[in-house]
Symmetry: C2
Subunit: 203 residues, 2 copies
DNA sequence: CATAAATTTAATCAAATGATTAAAATATTT
DNA sequence: AAATATTTTAATCATTTGATTAAATTTATG
């Protein structure tokens, strides 16, 4: 025993991580059993604890990845001093919806875990970009001095992210097929910019 | 023993339910321990199981209440044949934001539980209003035949609900105080209608 | 006060679950 | 083939947690 080896390990380790990503994001930390992950990975429980010391450790790897996907994409865009508000919104919509189409469960997962353990994430997120210091925030304040810029940030994020958070519900009350959902979200990529500009210029 | 009594019982039963509402909505079903609820209610575990047979039973009471609050408000509004799109959006924004200010944890709670157990809620929600048959849906289709009405429904819900779902995160990355949050949400009540109309009339 | 009802106490169960272990089996490398 | 590394098997622990029980205590009621 011992993971002195390099090549073959990665394959099994990755199988476990991939299974952990799936189960954790689908059910959340508390509702996930390590046995579920092992089964999903097609390995046994002993091996899971052999590679990763604990459920907690494995979870932290997964949640970090997911938060990186969720936040890593948006930070550089809204911090860019060389693009207009319109361009920023366009980029956020385009890149973010693509990301979320590939990872539709992330928002509900991450936000749920933050809710369950705000203190744990406080340190992680707080060190990051302070939203109110962002270039986008200042640009919005200049364009609409009469409206709190935070409103528009919430609007942008709401237009992009909410459909993915509400998906389980929307599917129930509309009977929309997954295929249609993809088409709908793809169409939104271009629509959001137009809508946002309209809101920004609303009376 | 036995709850033949009528008056004093309600008080204790209600204490337990109130505690259950708080803990379940804050942590979700899986992360909630019946001992937490008992402690929050200021009673002992035995009494909890004496009044409500099980964790599951207590949970179903709570989730039903919360879903009623979440959906019961919106259904009659979007079904009303005697109001315009503008009036509907105005009503949804006004009434819904008030409801969510009083129950900010509901959306994340309900959506999370639906995600964790879609089958369980399928029967409950499916029997309700089919969204695509709503008056609002048809009005939107008439106003903008070139855009899937579902987009505008998602926009409306996103503008109203997302700030509450994203609250734990927004608080982290802005350092906004709960008081400010209330002010912000109150301001949105009037802004959303204007924004929605702007989106509806966007090129 | 006497009776009945409500609540607590404290102990205990049983099942689920995260984690560990040693030995056997399988695969990989040299 | 021999040596080494990986994976499985299977048993077992310890803890948590939902649930139950009986007896003691407190509170309300007549």
């Amino acid at each position: 025993m011992g993971k002195t080896k390099q090549k073959a390990d990665l394959s099994t380790e990755e199988k476990i991580k991939e299974a952990a990503r799936k189960v954790f994001t689908q059910k959340g930390y508390a509702a996930t059993r390590t046995r579920d992950i092992a089964e999903e990975a097609g390995i046994n429980l002993a091996l899971l604890n052999y590679y990763f010391r604990s459920k907690e450790k494995l979870f932290e790897i997964v949640i970090m990845e997911k938060m990186q996907i969720l936040f890593g994409k948006i930070a550089p865009i809204i911090m860019d001093a060389n693009t207009s508000v319109e361009e920023k919104v366009e980029q956020v919509a385009e890149h973010y919806i693509d990301t979320l189409l590939a990872n539709p469960d992330i928002p509900l997962f991450v936000l749920g875990e933050i809710r369950n353990n705000p203190d744990k994430f406080a340190s992680l997120v707080k060190t990051k970009t302070n939203l109110t210091d962002s270039v986008l925030f200042k640009q919005l304040a200049e364009r609409r001095p009469d409206v709190d810029p935070l409103h528009f940030i919430l609007n942008m994020l709401g237009l992009v992210i909410f459909p993915f958070i509400g998906k389980p519900l929307i599917q129930l009350i509309t009977g929309i097929k997954p295929e249609q959902a993809v088409t709908l979200m793809t169409a939104r990529k271009k629509l959001i910019k137009t809508w946002f500009v309209a809101m920004l210029e609303a009376p």
